[in-house]
Symmetry: C3
């Protein structure tokens, strides 16, 4: 079991200690679950009360956060604090320190089928019921879990991990340190047909897929191969479960694509873009760098860099908030309109009456 | 082939017979498909005409339903009726009587790989290309179909059935009589990253998943393991195909989660909740007991117990109906507004003219 | 490597040549990527500039398209043109000519498990870790890729291709030339329960699934078996990735169902229907022939043949466009309403003042 002093953890994450730097830490967990010997983190203000009550030996906390009054002495000491710029990031580093397990290569299972001409790296783990097609390349320290399929000529970069039942079709290039979760399919045919006389004729899907380094792909994600050319996922992009990436889509670097989002064919997504859950992007569009698409939004035209869009069809989020506010006031708006209509009618009647009176008066005078 | 008298079926479901109690029933099917020797059920009023024409020997029907006039004699006798409180429930019991097959243990396939220290129950069926990881526990009468993967230390409760190509990652606890359909993945990593300098750093996902007794999980469902702690699906909850359940979600007992719904991280769903198809629930929210989320709705704040919500962002269904009605009248509302604007302008002109006349009159008088 | 003269390709697709009919073509690709010896196609006007610059030896183009001015001589000759009615369709035919690989039967892998009484066709390819259940029928020239499961008594028609990790449960009938992509599940249990006392009791799902000839089913698609009777996908229908088809759904011929769409139980979809991405269709509805459901739309009532519907709840597209236009003008509408209200109030005040003046005048006179 790993352990470290708070001092050592502070060196790891670059923080400053308030309290006993020699506190020995043997694990990391949530603020409510943590007990003696454990470090936890505080970043979400909704857990402020938990901060008062935590039994953790140490708490990672933002540099600017004011600590609440010392809790009433309850037989336990106050935790030490580790002050950092980004507590969640420091937590991720410390969690990796405690939880990351070294890759222990298990070699190639007797129950795996390795095609001719496969270039197999060193220190790999190839589990039972894996099939690697002819001419594929498997990098050093790669893990192909139970039932993984790697098609002919595909390449899996060093230290990548493919969880059970991942399918990588032929002619796919996967970078280094890529993680692909169970049930994901990379390189399935794109959805392309020429319609003639009401019938749909398949366009051969003969392009490939490129997954760059440090990408993570969720469980049940489908990434289609290009019709021609390449479908591409940029370095460091993270894709959540059940996402659809159609043929010829290009996603930039360091994006977040949340669960059940869908990206239609040939769309081009910039870098550091966030697509929230169940969002959809229509085909052939461009989403600029650092743009955000809100949950369940449907994007039907290009989105400028840095913009946040919401709704269907998606519009800039600020505009959408105004629309939304008024949408939910629609019954009141309609009520107001009906009331005004009545007032206008009353005015019209009054004015008509007034005019008649006047005319009568005129006639009398006349 | 199983058979039973109507009398025996009435004892099974607790109903009352109208007609010949000794009618022999050899099967159960839909009201249109049923023929002599079969029992069917009537619960959806849209099938009233089918009730007149059914060739079934017996019909399960609600206690209060008035039977239509006897159909004109057509060479066939009228069906017997089995009166019950809940015809659909009685049908489910009778269908189980006719269709349930006893578990016939097939033993452990020679083509399965069982890890060290696995505790294997009695009378199991472990099919080809199954892998059970080290230290896992498989309960009595469990079925692990073709290609199922059970990770290290995971537990599968008695009489559970895992269909082909189910993935259960390490450290997952599955209760008794749980059914998991093909392609489902239980225990994939949650989607958790700390973003620093525009890059996303993986938070180790080291929690587990608990699936309680009598849960059913559809094909292609993804249930992520917790970052810390447990993702939990309560007893008797039924999940349809392609549903996403993110890390640290807690779902209560006896819920229905319909196809393609998605639940974001740390959301807490009460008991007897219904999430309709393609609905989405944002992270960290609470959905109260017996609440209903309508199809395609997007929930962005807590939902009170018993409430039905619709739309995006989801609001109480009754309010939404009013909004919706007015939304689709928007072109008319806008038209009315334009018309009123014209009438107001006319009034303004008239009044201005009247005032001018008056002033002129005044001046004249003066 | 295949090659053909432009003359031969023109015979294949029925087009007319402008330029050198003896041009030798050795491949087909996109208009930007194409080089000497390659044919490409022009159908999307947004690529007009690419047409001027293409290095392709030949371009498939519509009969009526006017060619732009000859590009300035740049050391390369102008491409030849192949004039056709439907360039995209001609492209699909030529692409199939160049890219289609003949089925080379690999026989039955030693690592496959074939049940008793299986009728195995001629010239099949059955890859490692395939399981075919008892009594199943596999047609001639069928490919069952790695890890495919075919349940007891299921039928796979001639020349069908099942990609890695496809699950076909028991009692499913799949036609000829059907393509099923990785991770798809055909014949999982429908989502059917009778609720009694707050608990959900499973209805046995004992129907089947029929997939007719020439259907293509995307990766990660889930098609549930019927409760009773059959779930049915009509001839020539194409289904994109991650689509949900619930129990007892009937889809007609030559439909397109785009990624992540969902069709609830017992819905009946006509022929030549398009369901766009992420669309949803509620249970028991009818969608008429040639209807289109827009992306993310939610259909809650029947749709007439030929109609296009959009929005949630879905309404005819033309109406929806008007609603949508006004929806996004809602802040302006509300502003206009507020302004009118002020003008009406002013009119009321003026009129009140005028009346008072008049009355005072009256009194004075009186």
């Amino acid at each position: 079991m790993k352990q470290a002093t708070l001092q050592e953890l502070a060196s790891l994450v670059g923080g400053e200690i308030e309290g006993d730097a020699q506190t020995v830490i043997i694990g990391v967990t949530g603020i409510r679950e943590a007990g003696p010997g454990q470090i936890t983190f505080f970043s979400n203000p909704r857990y402020a009360s938990a901060l008062l009550e935590t039994r953790a030996s140490a708490v990672i906390i933002g540099k600017a956060v004011k600590l609440p009054e010392r809790p009433p002495a309850g037989g336990r000491g106050a935790p030490a604090f580790l002050r950092v710029e980004n507590p969640y990031y420091a937590y991720s580093q410390i969690a990796r320190f405690f939880f990351s397990r070294p890759h222990v290569p298990s070699g190639i299972s007797e129950w795996a089928v390795i095609g001719r001409g496969v270039r197999m790296g060193r220190d790999v783990s190839v589990h039972p019921f894996v099939v690697v097609g002819e001419g594929a390349e498997i990098g050093d320290r790669v893990t192909l879990s139970v039932g993984v399929y790697v098609g002919e000529g595909s390449v899996i970069g060093e230290e990548s991990v493919l969880y059970p039942h991942v399918t990588v079709r032929e002619g796919v290039r996967i970078g280094r340190r890529v993680i692909i979760h169970s049930g994901a399919v990379i390189g399935s045919d794109g959805f392309g047909y020429a319609t003639q006389g009401g019938k749909h004729h398949k366009i051969p899907q003969v392009g490939g897929v490129v997954i760059e380094d440090d990408v993570e792909i969720g469980a049940g994600v489908m990434i289609d191969r290009a019709a021609l050319g390449q479908t591409r996922i940029g370095r460091g992009t993270k894709i959540d479960n059940l996402v659809q990436v159609a043929h010829n889509v290009v996603i930039g670097d360091d994006c977040l694509v949340v669960a059940q989002a869908g990206i239609a064919g040939s769309a081009q997504i910039g870098s550091q873009v966030t697509l929230a859950g169940q969002a959809g992007v229509a085909g052939h569009l461009r989403i600029g760098d650092r743009a955000t698409v809100s949950g369940q939004a449907g994007v039907t035209k290009d989105v400028r860099p840095g913009e946040t869009v919401s709704g269907f069809p998606a519009i800039p989020h600020r505009e959408w908030l105004k629309v939304q506010a008024n949408l939910y006031r629609l019954p009141a708006i309609r009520g107001a309109l009906t009331e005004i209509e009545a007032r206008v009618r009353r005015l019209e009647e009054l004015l008509k009456a007034a005019t008649s009176n006047e005319q009568r008066a005129m006639r009398k005078k006349g």
